[in-house]
Symmetry: none
Subunit: 213 residues, 4 copies
DNA sequence: TATGAATGAGGCTTCATTCAT
DNA sequence: AATGAATGAAGCCTCATTCAT
């Protein structure tokens, strides 16, 4: 095996390790809350030394941000895969589903974002995150504008629709994770279904939000 | 002045100080995030010593919970003041407005609740909080059931409607506070109005969620 | 009632309160250990305010010392009441019994003395304590010297005998309070009896320490 | 040097540091009393940072217990080294000497044990301590039982003899450390000798406790 | 590159003592 | 004299980050 090959493999392994760390961190953050998870716990989970983590990431905050970026990139990937389809409802539906599917994860990211911005930490990565997100948003905006041209959506600024959906999604997540309200929801699946339907058609002209029709 | 009177005044002042501490704590939590606010900062803000705080509250967690309870009691007060009115839409509207009006506060409480429950701290107060909240919920449920009898609401379990509204409110809050999405909303007031309307009529039969009609 | 009488009664009540505080303090120290007992707890137990305690005693250390002095004075009282009797064994026996009877109390005082001396607190009271104790010791020494003249005790320095008895008493107390060794003693009374007998005759010439003869 | 060797050396050094911390802690506890010694003082004494202490021990209480266990293990070691010898008096004598030789240390441990048990701290280590001590006790019990078979000891339950010796040792320690009684003892060595002799023969049949015969 | 021991700033909490009423 | 609210020094412990090997 040549040196080049070796170096490539090494780089490969390094990337792989990075992914492992992020995966472990995410899992632990979700399970215990980011405040109760120490860098050492993450290292243990991956089976490496604490110092090694700092070979990959400068600070714990950077881990936070990379997780969030990864999430947003997955969303971008989803959008790319849908792009070009005819079904105009598909994109918002997928967006909505994606976000609502893993409530705790999104909730975590929301918390992290507020925290990281409050501390003004790692501004470059915050910028990167926002750039990706803006692109994703753009996809949505364009879809919505098409919907408005097709005269199926209320003629309000596009972001009203997005924001509405975002709000509902965000809220639905909060609801389903609320230790208190959880008790009141018997059939989670049915309720999720209900929410998604309302969410998607909420901004439609005419019979908005109607379910099962 | 009699001794009784004196004692009463002292008790009064003690209560007052308690309120001051909670107010200061809330203000600081909202401004810097609860993690960046130390007990000492709260004391400084009120202009008292660190130790004094602990004459009023056993732990920082207790401060968290008392703030949340206060909030929920304000809501209860609101419900009481409305009770007995004819306008069936009034209650949900007020609920929705109340929650959406002070986004950061609610968001803070949501974060705190998750944190406090995760740490299993001050369970008696958590119980108290949930009791009050359950009562508030009851008010809503009853109103909604009346709405369903009056055949203006979709015949799904009442909490579907509440949950929906909760979710939207929660989400709207998250949205309006999101450092990222904020940039996209030009006219906050108009948007809030839009959301509130959608929120209230979302679950209506027929022309749900329609605005200005 | 004249002013004098009133003043006298007041003084009387003041003394009484002082005694109450000391009693309460002792009880609490014995139950929870002096470190876990706050001045506030003592005040609550007596049913007075915390500040009042400081009208009677300058510091918590002073309370410690006054308790110890009271104890030593009780011992002096005991010696006085015996003085003049013929039975030469009576004094040591009473001394030994007195100390061994309330193990935890003595242990507490022992702990306190070390603590207070280490901190060099309230030296006047420490002196007072030692003066009283020296007097008590003197009573013992004289009794022992008489025993030696009567040729019933080993002719070693008198304090050897006292110290021996002290040591055994102290040790017996430690033993009976040791959470560990306690498990090994089935019949406490019988064992105490055994100890006391050994203690008294330990220094005798000839058949020393023999039991039941 | 191989990696294995390196790791071994590191582990070795880690152990060594642990010992250093315990030694420093013990020295400080003995000198100032455990309450006046802060974790930071221990760290300073060793010449390390405060946090490092917590890499080795979870709490200050754990340090207390490990010191006590170490002490008890030394005793066990002593017993092991004697085991099998013919001289039946050797074991109790060594036990007695061991305990009486370092009075302040034992006294410290006695205080610590009571404290730690009152706080119900680190129960696993308390158990471990008691297990070791029970084994040590067993050695003594067996020796004593042999003495009774040989008809040289009073036929009371074996633990009476142990307890007696324990009590005397404990008491002797308390005595020699008592800031008050200390003044009365001129020749410490002679007195210790006196005590040890009494201690060992105290329970003998016949001429018990006689010295130099 | 990987490691993990070491660091120390910083947080929460306790409680003896003071002092204005 | 009695009170108890207020104080703040001081202690224990956590953990992100550094750095020598």
């Amino acid at each position: 095996m040549g040196d080049l090959e070796k170096a490539a493999r090494k780089a490969q392994e390094f990337r792989q390790r990075e992914r492992e760390i992020l995966d472990a961190a995410l899992a632990l953050f979700l399970e215990h809350g980011e405040d109760r998870v120490t860098v050492e716990m993450i290292a243990d989970q991956v089976g490496i030394g604490k110092g090694t983590i700092y070979k990959h990431f400068e600070t714990k905050n950077e881990i936070y941000l990379l997780l969030m970026i990864r999430y947003e990139e997955d969303l971008a990937e989803l959008f790319r895969s849908i792009d070009g389809e005819d079904d105009r409802e598909r994109l918002p539906r997928e967006y909505f589903s994606f976000r609502i599917q893993q409530p705790r994860r999104y909730q975590l990211f929301d918390r992290l974002e507020n925290k990281v911005i409050k501390e003004q930490a790692v501004p470059e990565l915050v910028d990167k995150l926002h750039t990706i997100r803006a692109k994703n948003l753009d996809s949505l905006v364009r879809t919505i504008e098409q919907g408005m041209k097709a005269d199926t959506l209320e003629p309000v600024p596009p972001y009203y629709h997005i924001a509405l959906a975002w709000a509902l999604a965000h809220g639905a997540v909060g609801l389903m994770e609320s230790p208190f309200y959880q008790k009141y929801i018997d059939d989670k699946e049915d309720f999720t279904d209900f929410l998604i339907n309302v969410g998607i058609r909420m901004g439609n002209k005419g019979q908005r939000g109607r379910r099962d029709d």
